[in-house]
C-alpha cells in the first residue's frame, strides 16, 4: 500500500508537467482512499495562501516582461494580442465551498503549469537573450509546482480527493512564431487576471 501511495504524487506530477499533453484525472469519490507520500504540513492553507499571494505579486511583472520581449506590436496592442481570450481556461467560482475552490484551483494550476512550460520552451528559442524573462518564467513554474503539491495534499487529507480531471491548453509546437508569441501573451494575460481572483478567494 505504501509503495502504491508513494507513486501517486510523482505520477501525477509527471503527467501534469508533460508539455501540451496529459491524461485527465477523474475526481475521486469521496469515500475513496487517498494518501500522500509525505505528511502534509499542518499549516497547509496558509502556505497555499502565501504561494497564491506570491504568484499574484509577480504575475504583472511576468506579463510585462513577456510582451516587452516580443517586440512591436505586442506592447502597444495588448488588448488585441494579449487579451485574456483563453476559451478553454478552467473556471473558478470564488463563492463555492473550499473543496470546490480547491478542486478548481487544482485544475487551474495544472493548466497554467502546462502552458507555462510551453511558453518557457518557446521563449528559449524565440528570445534566447531574454534572460530575465526566462528566470521569471522558471520561478513562476517552481511556485506553481509547490502550490500544486500543497493543493493536492489539502484535497487528499481533508476531502479525500486523490484524482481531479484536468485539461490543458493547446500545444504550440506546430504553430508559427507569431502565433506562439500571441498565445503565450494571451495566456499570461489570463494568468494575471485569474490569479488575482484566486488569491483573493483564499
Amino acid at each position: 500500500m505504501k509503495v502504491l501511495a508513494a507513486g501517486v504524487v510523482p505520477l501525477l506530477l509527471v503527467l501534469h508537467w508533460k508539455h501540451g499533453a496529459g491524461t485527465p484525472l477523474p475526481i475521486t469519490p469521496v469515500n475513496a482512499t487517498c494518501a500522500t507520500r509525505h505528511p502534509c504540513h499542518s499549516n497547509l492553507m496558509n502556505q497555499i495562501r502565501n504561494q497564491l499571494a506570491q504568484l499574484n505579486g509577480s504575475a504583472n511583472a511576468l506579463f510585462i516582461l513577456y510582451y516587452t520581449a516580443q517586440g512591436e506590436p505586442f506592447p502597444n496592442n495588448l488588448d488585441k494580442l494579449c487579451g485574456p481570450n483563453v476559451t478553454d481556461f478552467p473556471p473558478f467560482h470564488a463563492n463555492g465551498t473550499e473543496k470546490t475552490r480547491l478542486v478548481e484551483l487544482y485544475r487551474i494550476i495544472a493548466y497554467l503549469g502546462a502552458s507555462l512550460g510551453n511558453i518557457t520552451r518557446d521563449q528559449k528559442v524565440l528570445n534566447p537573450n531574454a534572460l530575465s524573462l526566462h528566470s521569471k518564467l522558471n520561478a513562476t513554474a517552481d511556485i506553481l509546482r509547490g502550490l500544486l503539491s500543497n493543493v493536492l495534499c489539502r484535497l487528499c487529507n481533508k476531502y479525500h480527493v486523490a484524482h481531479v480531471d484536468v485539461a490543458y491548453g493547446p500545444d504550440t509546437s506546430g504553430k508559427d512564431v507569431f502565433q506562439k508569441k500571441k498565445l503565450g501573451c494571451q495566456l499570461l494575460g489570463k494568468y494575471k487576471q485569474v490569479i488575482a481572483v484566486v488569491a483573493q478567494a483564499f
Partner: protein, 983 residues
C-alpha cells in the same frame, strides 16, 4: 521575378557508350520526325507531356511539377525542351514562361520546381506545358507539341476559417533581398492595415480579398526576427508573421595555416559576421585537403586543427568552406609545410655573470627538428634605449650584453623564427635584470651662500643630487671637508646622510676651501671644490633689467679680462616665499650668455639673477645682477593712498608704503585720476575717459619713487573722487576704487580761528567771575553802596554835572527826635489824628515829575529808614526792613522802582499795627515846633501835615519844580506826583 531551377533527376552523366547509342537513335528519330512534320503539321506530336501534376510546398513557396512523355519507345532517349507557362489568378495572366531542357528516357517521370516570390497562399496559380525535341544543332523552327491542359494550384481553400491570414509564415531571407508579403481576408474588409515593426506598409490590391506588400532590400533588425502584422479596422483579430532576415554569409578572410611542432597544423581565419538566426544555425566551416582527400568539420568558427600526416607530406592544398541555409562560400590555400613554421616562444631565460657593465643571458627553445636552425632576436631595453641582436640557435641560446650602465634595471627579451624559411616570429619571452653598483662618476654640483652672523662666517652649502647615470648606485652620504686657508685651524670633516641636499656650516675663519664628495656602497665620487673668500665680492654691481621670453630669461655678461674657470648664474625660484629655493647653473669659461629656463617661473613674479665668475682659485665674484619678469602682468592692486592737507583748493595724496619691487611688473610711474562735477582739467592734467565712459582728469607721475602728489586748483565745497594707480608697460592698475573727498568752505578756517579764541575768552571770564563773585559784588554792587566808589557818580559827574558832589555827613545839621506817646482812642477824626501824628515823607524820584529830560537818581538814607521802619501809624509807605540788594542798588529804572515800592507798601498795610508808639523823624529843615504837639493848629495847611524830609544834597534848581502857589508854605521839594501820594 527570379526563379530557381532545380533539375533534380539529371545530375549524373551518362556513360560514353550509352551516349553514342543514344545519339544514333536520336538522329534516326529526328529524321523520322522531320518526315512526319513534312507530311502533315496538324497531327499532334507523339512525345507530348502528359500526366502533369502540380503540388505546392508552402515551406519554400514552391510549385512542384511532375509529368511523363507520351509514346516514348522503350530505350528511346531524346533531348527535349519543355515550355512551361504559369499564370496567376486567371489563365490569361501569364507570369512565367520557361523552357526546360532535359534528356528524356522511356517511362521517365520528369520533375520541375518553381519558387514563387508571391506566397502561393495569396493567389491561385495555373500551369501548363508543351514539349519539343531539342533541335538546337539543326536549323529550322522548333516544332512544339500541343499545350497540356491548365493545372490549378490553389492553397486558399485549405486555409481554414480565420477571417485574416498573413503569408508567408516565418520566412528566412538574406539581408538586402526583396520580399513579398500578402494578406488574405475572408471577411471582405477593406480597411486592413499592415505594419512592419510598427511602421505601416503600403500595398496593392491583388484581388478583393488579397493585398500584396513588396519589401525591398530588407534590413537585419534582430536575431529573433522582424514582426509583421495586420489588423482590421474592426474587431481584434490581429494576425502577424515573423520575417527572419539573415546577414549575408561572408567569405572567410585571412585564411592561414601554420605549425609549431610539425605535428598539427593550426588554420585560422576571420569568419566575418555571424548569420545565426532562430530559423537558421550559424554558418558552419569545413576544411578539405585535396592531396590527402581528407575533410574535417570545424566546430570553432575561426580556427581549426589539422593533424599532420605521419608520412612526409610537404604540400597541402586546403579548401575552407563556409555554409549556411541560404549560401555557401569557399577559399583555397596551397603551401609547403616547412615554410609555415611558427616556433613556440623561448623559455627558461637566465642571466649569468652580472657585473656593473655586462651580463650574459641564456635561454632554451623548443626543438623543431634536428635539421632546422632557429634565428633568435634579442632585445635589450634600458635607460630609454633599445639594442637588438640576432643569434642563431640550435637548442640553447646565449648572448653577452656589454657596455651596460651600473645599477640599472634592464629588460631583455628574445623571440625566434625558422632560420631556413622565415615565416613568423614566436612570441616574446622577457626577463628583467639589474646591473651591479659602481662608484659615482661625477662630483656633485655644489653652490654656497655666505653670510656673517655675529662676526662669524656661516656658509650654507647646497648641492644637487647626482643623476642616476652619475650616481651609479644609491648615494648614502655626502662628505664635506673644510680646510682653512691660513692653516691656523684644523680641517673639519663632516658626513651628511643622503638624501640631504644642503647644510649650514659655521666656519672658524672665512677663508677656507670646502671639498664635497658623494659616496655610495662601492666608492666615492670626485670632489667638488668651493673656496670661501674673506673678500665680500663686488656687491656694488648695478642691477640691470632683463625681459623674459617663452624660452626663459636670456642673460649675457661681459667676458672677464682675468682668467676664469667658469661662470655661475644663481637665482631664486620662489622669490616671494622664503626660503627662496636657490637655484644655480654652471657655465663654461668661454660662455658669456645663457638662457635660464624653469617650469617654476610664473608670470608676474620678479626674478633676480646674480652672475658670478669663478676664478682659478675657485673663488666666485659677482659680475652682474639682472632682474626681470618671465611675463609682466598689469598691476592687480592700487596703492593704499592717504589724503592729507585738505583745503578748499587742494589736498595731498601719499602712498609711501607702496613697494615698487614686489609688483607684477616694472612700475613706470603713477596716474592720478580726479573726477569732478565740473569736469574741467587744469594745467598738468589731461582728460581721460575711463572704461565706464566717465570723463576725468589724469595727472601723470613719471617717477615711480615719487609717492606723494598735491591735487590743486580745486573748488571750495566741491565733491571730488580720486584714484592713484600705477602704470607699467603692460597697463595700469584697476580703476575700481575711487576715494571720495569734499573740499571745505573757503571761510570756515578763518571763522574757526576767530571763534575759538573768543569762546575761550568768554569762558575764561565767566569762570573768573564765578570764582571772584564776592569780590565783584563788593566792587560792583555792594549791599551798602559807597557813594564815593560808585561809578554812577563818576558817570554823572563827568557827563552831566561836574559840580555834583556827595554831601558830607559833617555838613548835616543834626535832627531832633521827638517821642510821642498818644492813645489811639483819643483820636476823634482822621484829620485830628493825622494832625497829631508826625508825618513821614519818603522822597522818591519819579520821571513824571521831571519836566526836564535828565534823570534824577536818589539814594535812600537807611539810617533814617531804620528808625522809621516801625512807624506806620500814619499809613505812609514804609521802608521794608530788608530790601533785596537788587532793589537797593542803582535804581535807574523807574518801573522797577515803582514796583518795589508798591509791593512794600502793600505789605506794610497789613503788618503795621495801629496805635503803637513810634519814633518819628523830624526834618531838620522844618520850622521848629516846641511844646506839646497837641498844641498844633487844628487846621493846618495840608502839605504841612507831615514832616517832610528835605533832600540831603544840593539839587540844581533847574531840576526841581517850583512849589505850587498856596499849596504849601514849606520849602521842601516834592518829587512825587500828586496823584501818587499815599495818605
Amino acid at each position: 521575378m527570379t526563379s530557381v531551377l532545380l533539375p533534380l533527376c539529371e545530375r549524373n552523366p551518362e556513360p560514353m557508350a550509352l551516349f553514342s547509342v543514344s545519339q544514333t537513335a536520336f538522329l534516326l528519330a529526328f529524321l523520322s520526325l522531320r518526315t512526319y512534320q513534312s507530311e502533315g503539321l496538324s497531327e499532334p506530336l507523339p512525345w507530348a507531356p502528359e500526366s502533369l501534376k502540380v503540388s505546392v510546398n508552402t515551406t519554400c513557396q514552391c510549385l512542384h511539377l511532375q509529368w511523363t512523355v507520351h509514346n516514348l519507345a522503350h530505350h528511346q532517349e531524346f533531348r527535349m525542351v519543355f515550355q512551361i507557362e504559369i499564370s496567376r489568378i486567371k489563365t490569361s495572366n501569364v507570369i512565367w514562361v520557361e523552357n526546360y531542357t532535359t534528356t528524356v528516357k522511356w517511362n521517365q517521370v520528369l520533375h520541375w520546381s518553381w519558387e514563387s516570390k508571391l506566397p502561393l497562399e495569396c493567389a491561385k496559380h495555373f500551369i501548363r506545358m508543351r514539349s519539343a525535341v531539342d533541335a538546337a544543332k539543326t536549323p529550322g523552327p522548333r516544332v512544339w507539341s500541343s499545350w497540356s491542359s491548365w493545372e490549378e494550384a490553389d492553397v486558399q481553400n485549405s486555409l481554414g476559417q480565420d477571417p485574416l491570414f498573413i503569408f508567408p509564415k516565418d520566412k528566412l531571407v538574406e539581408e538586402g533581398s526583396n520580399v513579398t508579403i500578402c494578406y488574405v481576408s475572408k471577411s471582405h474588409q477593406n480597411n486592413i492595415s499592415c505594419y512592419l515593426e510598427g511602421v505601416r506598409m503600403q500595398g496593392e490590391q491583388l484581388d478583393p480579398n488579397v493585398s500584396v506588400f513588396n519589401l525591398n532590400h530588407v534590413a537585419f533588425i534582430r536575431e529573433t526576427g522582424t514582426n509583421i502584422y495586420c489588423k482590421p479596422g474592426q474587431g481584434d483579430g490581429i494576425k502577424g508573421t515573423v520575417l527572419f532576415v539573415s546577414k549575408v554569409l561572408q567569405e572567410p578572410k585571412d585564411f592561414s595555416c601554420e605549425t609549431q611542432d610539425f605535428m598539427t597544423l593550426n588554420c585560422t581565419w576571420d569568419p566575418g559576421s555571424d548569420t545565426g538566426l532562430l530559423k537558421q544555425l550559424s554558418q558552419s566551416y569545413t576544411l578539405f585537403e585535396s592531396f590527402s582527400g581528407k575533410k574535417t568539420l570545424c566546430k570553432p568558427k575561426s580556427w581549426c586543427l589539422w593533424q599532420v600526416a605521419p608520412e612526409s607530406q610537404d604540400m597541402y592544398n586546403f579548401t575552407l568552406t563556409a555554409e549556411n541555409y541560404l549560401r555557401k562560400r569557399s577559399v583555397h590555400l596551397l603551401f609547403n609545410l616547412t615554410h609555415r613554421v611558427h616556433p613556440m616562444a623561448p623559455f627558461n631565460i637566465l642571466f649569468k655573470n652580472v657585473s656593473a657593465t655586462s651580463a650574459t643571458m641564456t635561454w632554451k627553445v623548443h626543438s623543431i627538428g634536428k635539421y632546422y636552425t632557429l634565428l633568435c632576436q634579442v632585445e635589450l631595453y634600458g635607460e630609454g634605449k633599445v639594442t637588438q641582436h640576432n643569434v642563431s640557435v640550435k637548442v640553447d641560446g646565449a648572448h653577452l650584453f656589454s657596455g651596460l650602465e651600473p645599477d640599472t634595471e634592464y629588460l631583455a627579451q628574445v623571440r625566434c623564427a625558422n632560420g631556413d624559411y622565415f615565416w613568423k616570429w614566436s612570441e616574446w619571452t622577457h626577463q628583467n635584470f639589474t646591473t651591479a653598483e659602481a662608484a659615482p662618476s661625477e662630483a656633485p654640483d655644489v653652490w654656497r651662500n655666505v653670510k656673517t652672523v655675529q662676526g662669524r662666517c656661516v656658509v650654507t652649502l647646497f648641492w644637487k643630487p647626482l643623476s642616476k647615470p652619475q650616481a651609479h648606485g644609491k648615494i648614502l652620504f655626502y662628505n664635506i671637508v673644510i680646510e682653512y686657508l691660513d692653516r691656523t685651524s684644523v680641517s673639519e670633516v663632516l658626513s651628511i646622510p643622503a638624501p640631504a641636499s644642503g647644510t649650514e656650516l659655521p666656519l672658524n675663519q672665512c677663508s677656507s676651501q670646502i671639498r664635497i664628495t658623494a659616496s655610495n656602497s662601492v666608492g666615492t665620487s670626485p670632489a667638488s671644490v668651493l673656496v670661501v673668500s674673506r673678500e665680500p665680492g663686488n656687491e656694488e654691481v648695478e642691477e640691470e633689467r632683463v625681459k623674459g621670453t617663452e624660452d626663459g630669461f636670456p642673460l649675457s655678461w661681459n667676458p672677464q679680462p682675468r682668467h676664469v674657470t667658469g661662470y655661475l648664474v644663481e637665482w631664486c625660484e620662489q622669490p616671494r616665499d622664503p626660503p627662496c629655493d636657490l637655484q644655480w647653473k654652471n657655465l663654461g669659461p668661454n660662455v658669456t650668455s645663457t638662457v635660464v629656463s624653469s617650469d617654476a617661473f610664473r608670470p608676474g613674479v620678479r626674478y633676480n639673477f646674480r652672475i658670478y665668475g669663478i676664478s682659478t682659485e675657485r673663488v666666485p665674484y659677482l659680475l652682474a645682477r639682472k632682474t626681470g619678469y618671465s611675463q609682466e602682468l598689469a598691476p592687480s592692486d592700487n596703492p593704499q593712498v592717504v589724503m592729507t592737507n585738505l583745503t578748499s583748493h587742494s589736498f595731498t595724496l601719499s602712498w609711501k608704503n607702496y613697494s615698487t619691487e614686489s609688483q607684477t611688473s616694472f612700475i613706470q610711474g603713477y596716474h592720478v585720476y580726479l573726477k569732478s562735477k565740473a569736469g574741467r582739467c587744469h594745467s598738468g592734467s589731461e582728460k581721460a575717459v575711463l572704461s565706464d565712459d566717465v570723463v576725468c582728469c589724469k595727472y601723470k607721475i613719471d617717477n615711480p619713487e615719487q609717492k606723494t602728489f598735491v591735487v590743486e586748483n580745486l573748488q571750495p565745497e566741491s565733491f571730488y573722487e580720486f584714484l592713484v594707480t600705477p602704470y607699467t608697460s603692460v597697463g595700469e592698475g584697476p580703476h575700481d576704487a575711487f576715494a571720495k573727498v569734499t573740499t571745505p568752505d573757503e571761510y570756515s578756517p578763518t571763522l574757526i580761528r576767530i571763534l575759538l579764541p573768543t569762546v575761550f575768552c568768554i569762558l575764561l571770564i565767566m569762570i573768573t567771575c564765578y570764582l571772584k563773585s564776592q569780590w565783584m559784588k563788593e566792587k560792583c554792587y555792594p549791599d551798602i553802596p559807597d557813594p564815593y566808589k560808585s561809578s554812577v557818580l563818576s558817570l554823572i559827574k563827568s557827563k552831566e554835572n561836574p559840580h555834583l558832589t556827595i554831601m558830607n555827613i559833617k555838613d548835616c545839621v543834626p535832627d531832633s527826635i521827638e517821642v510821642l506817646n498818644k492813645q489811639e482812642g483819643t483820636r476823634k477824626s482822621l484829620t485830628e489824628t493825622e494832625s497829631t501824628k508826625p508825618t513821614y515823607l519818603y522822597l522818591l524820584p519819579t520821571e513824571k515829575r521831571y519836566s526836564s529830560p535828565g534823570p534824577c537818581i536818589c539814594f535812600e538814607n537807611f539810617t533814617y529808614n531804620q528808625a522809621a521802619s516801625d512807624s506806620a501809624s500814619c499809613g505812609h509807605v514804609p521802608v521794608p526792613p530788608k530790601a533785596p540788594p537788587s532793589q537797593l542798588g542803582l535804581l535807574t529804572s523807574p518801573e522797577n522802582l515803582l514796583k518795589a515800592l508798591e509791593k512794600n507798601y502793600m505789605n506794610s498795610l497789613g503788618e503795621i499795627p495801629a496805635g503803637e508808639t513810634s519814633l518819628n523823624y523830624v526834618s531838620q529843615l522844618a520850622s521848629p515846633m516846641s511844646g506839646d504837639m497837641s498844641n498844633l493848629p487844628t487846621n493846618p495847611p495840608e502839605p504841612a501835615l507831615c514832616s517832610e524830609y528835605k533832600m540831603q544834597m544840593a539839587i540844581p534848581l533847574g531840576l526841581a519844580s517850583p512849589p505850587s502857589s498856596g499849596s504849601s508854605s514849606l520849602s521842601s521839594i516834592t518829587l512825587l506826583d500828586e496823584g501818587e501820594h499815599y495818605h
